[in-house]
Symmetry: C2
Subunit: 368 residues, 2 copies
């Protein structure tokens, strides 16, 4: 997608075709800064510190992290150490382990001398597949939006389609295009009138910082709201549909996503509104069926709750404390929305009910 | 309650028995500053800028605002102008109009020369009644907590009673003691083991700033969480009960409270947890029965969403922008929780179901 009129992906190779470059997402929306990852530790650090974030982009970054490790040392031992370090950099997103497994499988039979070439080819393939997935999600989701707009017009509605989203599942969370926002971009680019309610998504403000920024860069009408506001807007008919991404989805359709997603799904359900989750197949964890019991939820530093970063009046990014000294904070990063609250899953293969049957319909090769 | 070991109310008279003094709540939790209100405009400004906030305290401040107006000019005209200005200072809390009506009624038959004396007597009576109400709410609520603790112990639980609250309905929201937090203080002072999950309550952070501060001052164990986190904690058995205050409650038990309350009530309902609302009778609006349709919701400045204030590293309070320039924001201050999601209302007269029948049982003199 475009930044200041120039086309970017969120991760790409430098001219040396070895160094990996990323957008430092911790600096957005106030500064647009790119960073070079020169070794596997840089990749681990970029994932851990959330310079890159979003389940699909984490997976691709981990894949390139393997490439960087093998550039330094192509041995089996180095591959193991790199995969372990990358696997431990974030605990929740299943794409991370999926990407690492894909890399291991591609490299297993390859002699150390050829591994660098094969690794970069495989990482590039994972990245390109992610882009293709996101484009397909955008097309399937935009068809849903078009239907909702037709219904709305039939009932005499004149407002744009009001879409609520939580956190950032836009192009910044993927390699390009996004998951939850892909249908928004596709619909907007096709001339449909859409407007996005952007949950700010405390404590890290990915909505206010990233989603608002990328929608603004692309010219999509949007309004930032506190995470508390969505239920009220739904009660008053000001939301037509919710769409979020997912960090891990069980084979039965339970959706793990940014903390607070569950609360919006409850509100959508209480107000009879559709709640969709957009995700590529790499986000599905076929091995588990009870999201609340089985998905480990990352507990992050309490400082993300006690402090907020933003742009000071002098143009510098400043961090301020918002809680009293001596008050502890807790910071679970994700929650799980039970499948019963999800209207449908939008994947690269189409839209299905959030259930084992629904997913089996889209991915018959996985159905047992 | 105590601040640094010294007992305070949130509003009191200076030694001249005319000037009204308050705690400037916009400076908490980082600075403890008191302010003198010398005329009605100071009172209007204190309410509008949320130097005083919380439905009961707004009502008492408005009552003293009438006193200040009459000190300058005891005429019928001055009384009218003052009441109009005070009535317009915040739109949602019904205590404001209730307190102004009480003042008007008390002053209606009083000759202008005696009005100042009667006004201060009436305002003091409103304040003292609020304190008595809050103490009674504390006792009724603490009995509920004691029951919940007994149940928990019977089931082998060893953790303290985990209470989730939203916004600030503590002593800072009232004259003393609080509404939602009164049962917490009563239980804690009686030696019951309680722990409070404090929603930070964006966009103004009254939970992180005020609730955490006053619980800390009183020594009550608590943990600050993002507004997004409560549903996840409930899913994992880490919340036993929710208690919030109310800015306006319909005669049928619909509860208007700080934006986001509805989302927590939905989560409590989905997890089979009790959700109580604590309120004095002055918060009940007997004239309406449909909270969502009939309660006007204040829309506040979008700057509260786009900017956050906190303590910088140099010890000064700084405001930073958290959204990209050019992204608009919306800022509804309250939402309405339908009575069907409320387990019970805790008032100064006891605990009742959130329904017309429940309220009629507590207030038979209001039942038609």
């Amino acid at each position: 997608m475009n930044v200041g009129g120039e086309a970017y992906r969120t991760i790409w190779l430098a001219e040396d075709r070895r160094t990996v470059e990323i957008i430092d997402q911790t600096r957005l929306p106030h500064e647009f800064v790119t960073l070079a990852l020169r070794d596997v530790n840089d990749a681990v650090q970029a994932i851990r510190s959330m310079q890159v974030r979003g389940a699909p982009l984490i997976g691709v970054t981990a894949a390139y992290g393997v490439c960087l490790a093998l550039t330094a040392d192509g041995s089996d031992g180095a591959l193991e150490v790199a995969c372990d370090a990358l696997f431990g950099s974030r605990p929740t997103a299943v794409n991370l382990s999926w990407a690492l497994q894909t890399m291991r499988k591609a490299l297993a039979e390859v002699p150390p001398s050829d591994r660098v070439t094969v690794a970069y080819e495989t990482a590039a393939k994972i990245a390109d597949e992610d882009v293709a997935s996101c484009r397909a999600i955008g097309e399937h989701g935009a068809e849903l939006f078009a239907d909702l707009i037709r219904n709305k017009e039939r009932e005499g509605g004149t407002e744009p389609l009001n879409i609520l989203t939580h956190c950032n599942a836009g192009w910044l969370a993927t390699v390009d295009y996004g998951t939850a926002l892909a249908p928004v971009y596709t619909a907007h680019d096709a001339g449909l009138a859409v407007h996005v309610w952007v949950d700010e998504t405390r404590p890290r403000n990915q909505g206010a910082a990233l989603t608002a920024w990328e929608l603004g860069q692309h010219g999509v009408p949007h309004t930032v709201i506190a995470d508390n506001a969505g239920g009220h807007l739904m009660q008053h008919g000001r939301v037509d549909v919710c769409v979020t991404g997912s960090d891990r989805t069980t084979g039965t359709g339970d959706v793990c996503n940014k903390i607070g997603t569950y609360l919006k799904a409850l509100a959508a359900h209480d107000n009879g509104l559709p709640f969709y989750v957009a995700l590529p197949h790499s986000t599905i964890d076929w091995s588990i069926s009870d999201g609340i019991a089985d998905i480990p939820i990352e507990e992050r530093d309490e400082r993300e709750v006690t402090h907020v970063s933003g742009l000071g009046e002098d143009g510098a990014v400043i961090t301020v404390r918002v809680t009293p000294r001596g008050s502890p904070a807790a910071n679970a990063a994700f929650d799980v929305t039970p499948a019963r609250l999800v209207t449908g899953l939008i994947t690269e293969r189409g839209v299905a009910p959030a259930s084992a049957e629904g997913l089996a319909g889209l991915y018959p090769e996985r159905a047992e």
